[in-house]
C-alpha cells in the first residue's frame, strides 16, 4: 500500500538477488567461527557458578602447568576503567560497569559472570584448564526480582549505589543519598493526570509481569584478537558496530583507538545483543600475554548466561476513557530489572508505551533496578515490547467496557501528526492511522474466526528509530559498474539496499553495484547497526557520494562536448547537453570515457542524518486455545506497518515478519527459568523454546509506504517495531477466545489452564 507522497523509482522497490547471497548459501561467507589465522590459540572463559559472591582468591597455577596452556588472565589483570558515562553510538554507557561485566574483579554478580580466561593450543586443552583454576568464593544472597530488590532490607548488589532521580540515563540528577538496588528513577509527565482520570467514565488498572528473554540470534558471540609486537591490535569478530566496539576496547584496554582495527566478519543475527563487547577484551589480553592471535567463541549456554538478554519487568498500568471512547488519562509504573549493572531500557519503554495514542494526560514512573542476573542489553525496540504489553492489554479492556470494536477504539485515539508524546515532543508526519485503516480494510479483519475457543486480538506499537553517522565511498569502474564501500555490519540485507540506492541514483542495475563492508582502518566512521538506522543513514551517505560523482562526470561530459559543465545535465541515467539534445551518453558510456577525460573518479562522504522518522504499527492475530491443555495456536497473523519507502520490499517484509515471530515467542514461550539461587535452568535451545516455522502460519504483512519526508529516498527504519505488538495482541486474542486475561508472560499452557480453572471455579 503506497501513500501519495512516494516518488517513482526504477531500482528502489524491486527485489534483486542479494549481493552476498551466493557466498551465504554456498557456505563461503566468512563468519567468526570460520575465521582462522596462523599461530592462533584458543581461548575459553571460566564463569561464576554463583549469582552473587565475593571472589576471595583465584589460583591459576595448576592450569598454567597444564601442557598446551599459554596464559591465564583475570579481572586483576585489567586496568580499572573510568567510572564515567559516555556516548557509544547513540546510546550511552559506563566504562567501569562495562569492564566489570567483561571480567569480574572482586565480586561476581550473576551466574555466568566471567572470572578468568585461558589461552591454549586447542579448545579442549583450554576447557580442561578451566577446571584447574581454583576460585575461592564467599557466596552471598542473590537478589532475583526487581520489586524485591527495591525493598530496604535486601542485600545491596553494589553497596555504594544510591538512587538517582533521573530525567535520563546517567543523569547526575538528584541523588537521593539512599543506598539501594534502585539505580535510577525516572518520570514522564504530560498534562494533568488527576483531571484526566476525573474526566473518565471507565478506568481500568492492572498489574503485569514479563520474564527475561534472549534475542535468540543463531550465531554465538565470537572474537579473534591479535595484539601485535608493534602494539597494533586487530580484532575479527561479529558485532553490530565496529567503530563503537573500537572505542569500547580503547577505553577498557587503555590503548590508543588508532592502534585498534576492528574487522567485521559476517554476522548471524544480533537484534541488539551484539552491541556490547564481551570476548574481544579477554582475547586481546590473552594475545598480548602470549604473542599469538587468540580466538574465542561462546557456547549456547554461555550466550544465554553470559551476554545481555532483555529485562524482565513488573508493571502497573491504569487508563481511563469516556463513554464515547476517548482516552483521557494514562498512568504506568515500570520496574525493569537491569541485571547486574544499571542501565535497563526502562526509559525507552516509558517513551514508547502510550505513544501510538493521543492522550493529553500521562504519568509514567520508571525504575531501573539491579538484580543478580546478566546485564541486560538492547533487544529490538528495547524496553518497548515489555511496556506496550500492559498498555495494549488495558486499552483492550477499556474498549470492551466502552463497547467499541478494539481496532475502532484505537483508531479513535490514534496519535497523528502534531499530537504530543508523553515526553512532550510533537509527532512528525507519519502513518499511524493509515496502518489501522489498512488493517480494518483487510480480509483478515473481515474474516470469520470459524470455530469455538478462537479469538482475535489487536495491538499497536511505536518505535522512535535513530539516525547516527555513516560514511561510504564509491569508485566508478570503466565498465560502468560501481564499487561501493561502507562499514555497517549487514544484518538484514543492508548492503544490497544501500547498493540499490546507489544504482537508483546512477540509473544502473543493482547488480552493477558491488558493495563491500570495510574494517575501521578502511572506511569513515559508522554508527551502530542498530536503531533501525542502517539503511536510512547509509542511504544518505550514498545520496551524497552519487550527487558528488554526478557533478564530476558532468564536467567530464562537458570536456568531451567542448562546453561548460553547467550546460550538461543528468536524468534517468543519462548525461545530456542542454543545448544539443543529440549529445547524450549513459552513465555506463561515460564510465568508459573517464580515463580519456581526466582519469578515474572515486568519491567518499560522511553524513550525520537527522529526521529519522518514527515507526508505527498495528497487528491483528487470531488464536485458538485448547481449554484442556492451555496450548495456544496462532491461526492467522497480520502486521500493518508504516515502512516509509521500501528499498527492497522482500527485506522489509522479512524484518516485519521476523520481529512478529520474536514477539510471538516472547508472548507464548520464551523465558529464562531461574532457580532460587539465580541459576538459569534452560540455557539451551532445547529448553529455551523459540517458535519455529512449524509453530506458525505465514505472517501476513500490510506495508504502508508513508515516505519519510526528511530522507532523500523517503526511508524510515523498519527493523525493530514489529516485535512490540504481539505480546498485547496475543493476550487480547486469548481473552477473546476463552475469556481469561493473561497478565504474566509468557502465556504458557499451564498458566492458561490455571486461569481457566480459576475462571470456572475449579481451582486446584
Amino acid at each position: 500500500m503506497t501513500t501519495a507522497n512516494k516518488k517513482k523509482y526504477k531500482v528502489i522497490g524491486t527485489t534483486p538477488i542479494r549481493h552476498d547471497g551466493a557466498d551465504k548459501v554456498t557456505g563461503r561467507a566468512i563468519y567468526g567461527i570460520d575465521f582462522h589465522t596462523t599461530g592462533m590459540l584458543w581461548g575459553k572463559i571460566l564463569r561464576s557458578p554463583h549469582a552473587h559472591a565475593k571472589i576471595k582468591s583465584i589460583d591459576a597455577s595448576k592450569a598454567l602447568a597444564l601442557p598446551g596452556v599459554h596464559a591465564v588472565v583475570t579481572g586483576k589483570d585489567m586496568a580499572v576503567a573510568r567510572d564515567i558515562e559516555v556516548e557509544a553510538g547513540e546510546t550511552s554507557l559506563n566504562y567501569m560497569h562495562l569492564s566489570d561485566n567483561v571480567m569480574a574483579r572482586d565480586k561476581v554478580l550473576y551466574k555466568g559472570h566471567a572470572v578468568a580466561a585461558v589461552a591454549a593450543d586447542t579448545q579442549h586443552i583450554a576447557e580442561e584448564a578451566l577446571d584447574l583454576i581454583d576460585v575461592d568464593y564467599e557466596v552471598l544472597t542473590p537478589v532475583l526480582n526487581g520489586r524485591e530488590g527495591m525493598k530496604a532490607d535486601v542485600p545491596l548488589i553494589h553497596p555504594e549505589q544510591t538512587t538517582k532521580i533521573m530525567a535520563f540515563r546517567f543523569d547526575p540528577g538528584t541523588d537521593s543519598g539512599e543506598k539501594s538496588n534502585v539505580a535510577g528513577r525516572s518520570q514522564l509527565k504530560l498534562g494533568d493526570i488527576e483531571a484526566g482520570f476525573k474526566e473518565a467514565d471507565f478506568i481500568v488498572e492492572r498489574e503485569y509481569t514479563t520474564s527475561w528473554v534472549h534475542q535468540g540470534y543463531i550465531e554465538a558471540q565470537n572474537a579473534t584478537a591479535h595484539w601485535n609486537n608493534d602494539d597494533n591490535i586487530t580484532v575479527w569478530n561479529s558485532s553490530q558496530g565496529t567503530f563503537n566496539q573500537r572505542q569500547l576496547m580503547a577505553e577498557i584496554l587503555k590503548h590508543p583507538v588508532s592502534q585498534i582495527k576492528m574487522v567485521p566478519l559476517e554476522i548471524g543475527g544480533g537484534f541488539g545483543g551484539k552491541i556490547p563487547v564481551y570476548l574481544e577484551i579477554p582475547a586481546a589480553m590473552l594475545s598480548k600475554k602470549t604473542g599469538h592471535p587468540v580466538k574465542m567463541t561462546m557456547t549456547r549456554t554461555e550466550v544465554f548466561e553470559g551476554t545481555g538478554p532483555a529485562s524482565a519487568a513488573q508493571m502497573k498500568a491504569k487508563v481511563g476513557a469516556t463513554k464515547d471512547g476517548r482516552i483521557t488519562a494514562a498512568y504506568a509504573e515500570l520496574v525493569f530489572e537491569a541485571g547486574a549493572f544499571p542501565g535497563s531500557a526502562v526509559g525507552a519503554g516509558a517513551q514508547g508505551m502510550f505513544t501510538a495514542y493521543n492522550i493529553e494526560n500521562i504519568l509514567i514512573d520508571g525504575y531501573d533496578v539491579v538484580v543478580n542476573k546478566p546485564k541486560s542489553a538492547a533487544y529490538r525496540s528495547p524496553g518497548t515490547p515489555q511496556a506496550c504489553f500492559p498498555a495494549e492489554a488495558v486499552i483492550d479492556e477499556l474498549a470492551d467496557l466502552v463497547g467499541m470494536d478494539p481496532l475502532e477504539f484505537r483508531m479513535k485515539n490514534a496519535a497523528k501528526e502534531g499530537d504530543r508524546r508523553a515526553d512532550g515532543v510533537q509527532h512528525p508526519e507519519m502513518g499511524n492511522l493509515e496502518c489501522m485503516e489498512a488493517l480494518k480494510a483487510s480480509d483478515h479483519y473481515k474474516s470469520d474466526l470459524g470455530g469455538p475457543n478462537r479469538g482475535r486480538g489487536v495491538a499497536s506499537g511505536y518505535w522512535g528509530n535513530a539516525g547516527m553517522p555513516a560514511s561510504c565511498s564509491i569508485a566508478i569502474n570503466g565498465d560502468g559498474t560501481v564499487s561501493l564501500a561502507e562499514g555497517s555490519p549487514d544484518i538484514g540485507g543492508s548492503r544490497t539496499s544501500i547498493a540499490m540506492m546507489c544504482a537508483e541514483a546512477f540509473g544502473i542495475a543493482a547488480e552493477d553495484v558491488h558493495p563491500s563492508i570495510k574494517d575501521t582502518d578502511s572506511i569513515g566512521y559508522q554508527g551502530l547497526t542498530a536503531g533501525s538506522s542502517t539503511t536510512l543513514r547509509n542511504g544518505w551517505a550514498v545520496y551524497e557520494v552519487t550527487n558528488q560523482a554526478i557533478e564530476l562526470i558532468k564536467a567530464r561530459a562537458a570536456r568531451l562536448w567542448e562546453t561548460e559543465p553547467e550546460n550538461v545535465d543528468f536524468a534517468d541515467g543519462v548525461f545530456f547537453s542542454k543545448a544539443e539534445k543529440e549529445l547524450k551518453l549513459t552513465f555506463k558510456e561515460m564510465a568508459g570515457k573517464l580515463m580519456e577525460t581526466g582519469g578515474p573518479i572515486s568519491v567518499a562522504a560522511s553524513v550525520a542524518p537527522r529526521g529519522a522518522g518514527p515507526s508505527f504499527t498495528t497487528h491483528m492475530v487470531d488464536v485458538e486455545v485448547d481449554p484442556e491443555t492451555g496450548k495456544v495456536d496462532i491461526l492467522r497473523y497480520t502486521a500493518a506497518q508504516d515502512v516509509g519507502t521500501m528499498i527492497h520490499p522482500d527485506y522489509v517484509e522479512g524484518q516485519v515478519q521476523g520481529g512478529a515471530v520474536q514477539g510471538i515467542g516472547w508472548a507464548l514461550n520464551e523465558e529464562y527459568f531461574f532457580n532460587d539461587k539465580g541459576a538459569m535452568l534452560n540455557a539451551s535451545y532445547l529448553d529455551y523454546r523459540v517458535p519455529t516455522m512449524l509453530d506458525l502460519p505465514m505472517i501476513d504483512t500490510i506495508l504502508v509506504e508513508h515516505a519519510n519526508p526528511n530522507h532523500p529516498f523517503g526511508v524510515r527504519g523498519v527493523a525493530e517495531i514489529s516485535v512490540v505488538p504481539p505480546l498485547g495482541a496475543i493476550a487480547n486474542a486469548i481473552y477473546a477466545a476463552v475469556g481469561v486475561r493473561m497478565r504474566d508472560l509468557p502465556m504458557a499452557p499451564h498458566k492458561i489452564v490455571k486461569a481457566l480453572q480459576e475462571k470456572n471455579g475449579k481451582t486446584k
Binding site: E85, V86, E87, E90, T91, S92, M166, A167, F168, R169, D171, P172, G173, T174, R185, S186, Q187, L188, K189, L190, Q215, G270, F271, G272, G273, I275, G347, A348, Q351, A377, A378, Y379, R380, S381, P382, D423, G424, V425, Q426, H427, P428, W463, G464, N465, A466, G467, G492, L528, A530, G531, S532, S533, R610, G611, Q655, G659, N710, G717, A719, E720
Partner: protein
Amino acid sequence: MATVWIPTPYRDLVGGVETVTVAGSTVRQITRNLDTAHPGFWERLVDDETDRIRAGVSVIINGVVVGTALHEPVGENDEVHYLPAIAGGA
C-alpha cells in the same frame, strides 16, 4: 523566545510547569539562560569537561534529534526538549 520543555524530574526547579520560554539562539545560550533563571540546569545537562550536553541526553529541536553539541542553532520560536538518547536493537 524558544519554548523549552522541562524534563519531568526537573520541574521542581521551575515551579512544576511543563514549559518555560527562554531567550537564546544556540543550545548553549538556551541552556545557560535556563540555568540563570532557574539554577541547576547547567550542571544537570552539560558536561563541562567535554563542553557538550551530557552523554545519555539528546537535544530535540522541533521534533528533530540534534545530538549533544552546544553550538546547535535554535530559532526564535523553536521548541526544545532534553530527552534520553536511545538506541535500538536491530
